[in-house]
């Protein structure tokens, strides 16, 4: 029922659940599923879909069958995540510092300096504790019996953590007896960990009680619910660009009692829109002058500016070498084998095998701008071939993975295998690095589909990490 394609046996971590499901009434899952939807709607746990005029707020479909990860498996995963994210921070420190990894030939210089996410403004800057990506979401897939591989690193403003927390709340409400039968590690400590992490990353002047805020582009942003959710759980103000202003390189927020100094900004705005004086002048969601305050060391931005250079899909392909260079050991978590289409030999191979491969735009995200060879028509493949030949630098290609599946409630009310991925959240600060035991499991609800993005019909599941 669960596991790698082809295996018949129930995974050990799923055995209790499997027994429980056998004795549960036939329509129980469907009833709970309806209950969950009703509740999410009442709470307004929604996301906005750009260009969807009909309903600009939608629920992400929630699947009531949990995704379960065993203890030993998680322990290994956690080690791998810490190693990877530590290496990413070291890599960013190096790129914006001495650039030893470029001199050592680990990554090609042009890949960094022509990268649209490389920020020359950050060259020579050192954020507190040399932490660049305070919050990192690493997308993983299981491709075989043992362990996971990394599909993508998200080092800029990864989203989805509110679903990790809300899904757990929902499951505890819907299936209290299931929780009694499992020993599941709690995820609700995430916001405490995040708060501690942000505090530890504050500039020195801020003292023991820094003023932390969450900066959102506003209610029309697709992840706005998450921004407000996090501010609420952290107990800090949710601000928009217009609530902040900079005076003498110090950031203030406008309050009913006058201006108040801000020390740490957990910003959910991309670099491009952060400061119209430095980046895009047409940004109306940013704060003029905030980069000057940042450069003066008067405020911490979390994540730092310029981290996008580490999660770009082209740099991704060098990650095993980057990890070895900075950690001195082999990467515990592997990459998906990837062809860099910028290399002529690789391009040739990719063009030969195009119908079998997944091809992604280097700067793309959200499952857009990609080709899934086996699921595409001849015409689509030929169209893509032209794009690829015209701009090989813009693409990477990967084999179509035999992604693992997890049991999922289908529209007929039966359990069916559906492809899943996993995004755990890794928090880094000068005080250390921590991983919340769980993550966001995204599931492709359409039979056979490999695309799990919520903007394209994906759903989510609660993710259980067992403690025994």
């Amino acid at each position: 029922m669960s596991g790698h394609a082809g295996s018949k046996e129930v995974r050990k971590s799923y055995r209790t659940l499997s027994r429980w499901l056998e004795t549960a009434p036939a329509d129980l899952l469907q009833a709970r599923s309806r209950q969950a939807e009703l509740f999410f709607r009442r709470m307004g746990v929604t996301f906005a879909v750009y260009g969807d005029v009909e309903s600009n707020e939608r629920l992400i479909p929630f699947d009531v069958v949990p995704r379960i990860i065993g203890k030993s498996e998680w322990d290994e995963l956690e080690k791998g995540l810490k190693q990877r994210v530590s290496a990413i921070n070291a890599f960013l420190k190096d790129i914006y510092g001495p650039q030893e990894c470029i001199r050592a030939g680990i990554v090609p210089a042009e890949l960094i300096f022509t990268n649209p996410h490389y920020r020359p403004e950050m060259q020579g800057r050192r954020p507190p504790g040399d932490i660049w990506t305070h919050i990192c979401g690493v997308d993983l897939v299981r491709t075989g019996e043992d362990g996971f591989v990394v599909l993508e690193d998200n080092c800029r403003t990864p989203s989805g953590v509110s679903y990790m927390l809300e899904n757990r709340e929902m499951m505890m409400r819907l299936f209290p007896d299931l929780f009694a039968e499992h020993r599941i590690r709690p995820v609700e400590t995430y916001t405490d960990m995040l708060l501690a992490s942000l505090r530890a990353s504050a500039p020195e002047h801020a003292g023991a009680d820094p003023n932390i805020v969450v900066l959102t582009p506003g209610p029309f942003n697709s992840a706005y619910y998450e921004h407000s959710f996090l501010a609420d759980k952290l107990g800090v103000e949710l601000v928009e660009g217009g609530d902040l202003f900079v005076n003498d390189d110090i950031v203030f927020m406008r309050t009913t009692e006058g201006p108040k100094r801000v020390d740490v900004i957990y910003r959910r705005i991309d670099d491009d829109w952060l400061d119209p004086l430095t980046f895009r002048p047409d940004s109306t969601v940013g704060v003029p002058g905030i980069m000057a305050a940042y450069a003066a060391g008067n405020v911490t931005l979390s994540n730092a500016v310029g981290t996008g250079v580490a999660d770009d899909k082209a740099v991704y392909t060098y990650m095993p070498e980057i990890i070895r260079f900075f950690s001195g050991g082999d990467a515990i978590l592997g990459n998906v084998p990837t062809w860099r289409c910028r290399e002529p030999d690789a391009l040739k191979e990719v063009l030969d095998k195009l119908p079998e491969l997944v091809v992604k735009e280097v700067g793309g995200s959200g499952g857009y701008g990609m080709l899934v060879g086996p699921a595409s028509t001849k015409a689509e493949i030929e169209d893509f071939r032209k794009k690829l030949i015209a701009d090989p630098d813009d693409f990477i290609a990967q084999p179509t993975l035999a992604l693992s599946t997890a049991p999922t409630l289908d529209s007929s009310g039966a359990l069916s295998p559906r492809h899943v991925d996993l995004r755990p959240f890794v928090l880094s600060s000068p005080a250390g690095i921590r991983v919340a035991p769980g993550g966001l499991t995204r599931v492709a609800l359409k039979q056979g589909s490999l695309v799990v993005n919520s903007s394209q019909g994906g759903g989510t599941k609660d993710t259980w990490v067992l403690d025994d």
Binding site: R41, L238, R254, T255, T256, E257
Partner: protein
């Protein structure tokens, strides 16, 4: 607190209150239009609803003429009316959503539930369904007010929300009282006659004050006593004097919490003093309608002072 947060709370309060008021105006119009009267009484009732809602100009500009159908649609649902019930609930919810973190779960669920309910109700065309819709709107405002008063901390978030409600309610009570001014008695009906009496009774009923009236005055319904109840009576929670009292007390709490008084506090207490010094005879002598007009403009001036002092 962020100025923007205060502003959103304040407008959440105002919009929810206004939605309730519009429902009450429409109920009043339905009743008044159903009174036995000569030709034209029904049309007058619907025109008066538009006038009381303060949207006569916009209504006329939209090329509509007052009828039950057009007024119901305009005040409750019309997409081109930024002050329809639907627009108010949507605006209240948009404001609330942008300050989700300043609200309790109960309050957010009440407001978000109202917004979800709009879709469930659709645009009822049958009169029965429409009356049920209006009932629902009034219940929504009870739920919102109840959730806020039962679950929110007594801090600035609460004072700004309530301040918005109180300022809007003062405005609305004044306008509701003015309905009577716009309700011309058709030829052949006399002042103090049966239709006149029914009109005043309906107004009282719409602010849930008919029983209160009998308890307070122990008399049949008389215009100056209705005005006394709705303008000066401090026991009546919707009276202008009560609203003014609430406004003063919320502003005072803000001043205490923040340790600073400003123009808004000064304007509000000066007005409350004037309420204490006037009586209903004086008001009638200078004209109720004129009194209401000047009250409305003072209320706007106070709202502007609140805005300048706290919300920017």
């Amino acid at each position: 607190m962020l100025s923007r947060t205060a502003e959103s709370l304040y407008w959440t309060g105002r919009y929810m209150e206004r939605a309730d008021f519009l429902a009450r105006i429409l109920e009043a119009a339905l009743r008044l239009a159903a009174l036995p009267a000569r030709d034209g009484a029904a049309a007058t009732a619907w025109a008066s609803a538009i006038a009381s809602a303060g949207v006569s100009r916009q209504f006329a500009a939209s090329a509509r003429t007052p009828s039950e159908k057009s007024v119901r649609e305009y005040l409750a649902f019309a997409p081109d009316n930024p002050s329809s019930i639907r627009a108010c609930i949507t605006a209240a919810r948009t404001n609330a959503r942008s300050v989700r973190t300043a609200l309790t779960i109960e309050l957010w669920e009440a407001i978000n539930g109202a917004w979800n309910g709009l879709a469930d109700h659709g645009e009822p065309t049958k009169r029965d369904d429409f009356v049920r819709f209006l009932e629902w709107v009034k219940n929504v405002s009870l739920a919102v007010e109840g959730a806020s008063s039962r679950t929110m901390l007594r801090n600035d978030a609460y004072w700004f929300l309530r301040l918005g409600m109180a300022i809007e309610r003062a405005d609305n009570t004044a306008r509701l009282l003015d309905v009577k001014y716009h309700l011309l008695l058709p030829a052949g009906e006399r002042v103090g006659g049966q239709l006149d009496y029914f009109q005043w009774t309906t107004l009282l009923r719409e602010v849930s004050a008919l029983t209160a009236y009998r308890w307070v005055y122990r008399e049949s319904v008389r215009p100056w006593l209705v005005a006394d109840l709705m303008v000066l009576n401090r026991q009546m929670p919707r009276s202008l004097a009560s609203c003014q009292g609430m406004i003063v007390s919320y502003l005072d709490r803000l001043a205490t919490d923040y340790g600073r008084r400003g123009p808004a506090q000064r304007i509000a207490s000066a007005r409350l003093t004037r309420f204490n010094e006037t009586n209903i005879e004086e008001i009638f002598q200078s004209g109720l309608h004129e009194y209401i007009l000047s009250f409305l403009s003072e209320n706007n001036a106070l709202a502007a002072a609140v805005h300048d002092q706290y919300l920017v």
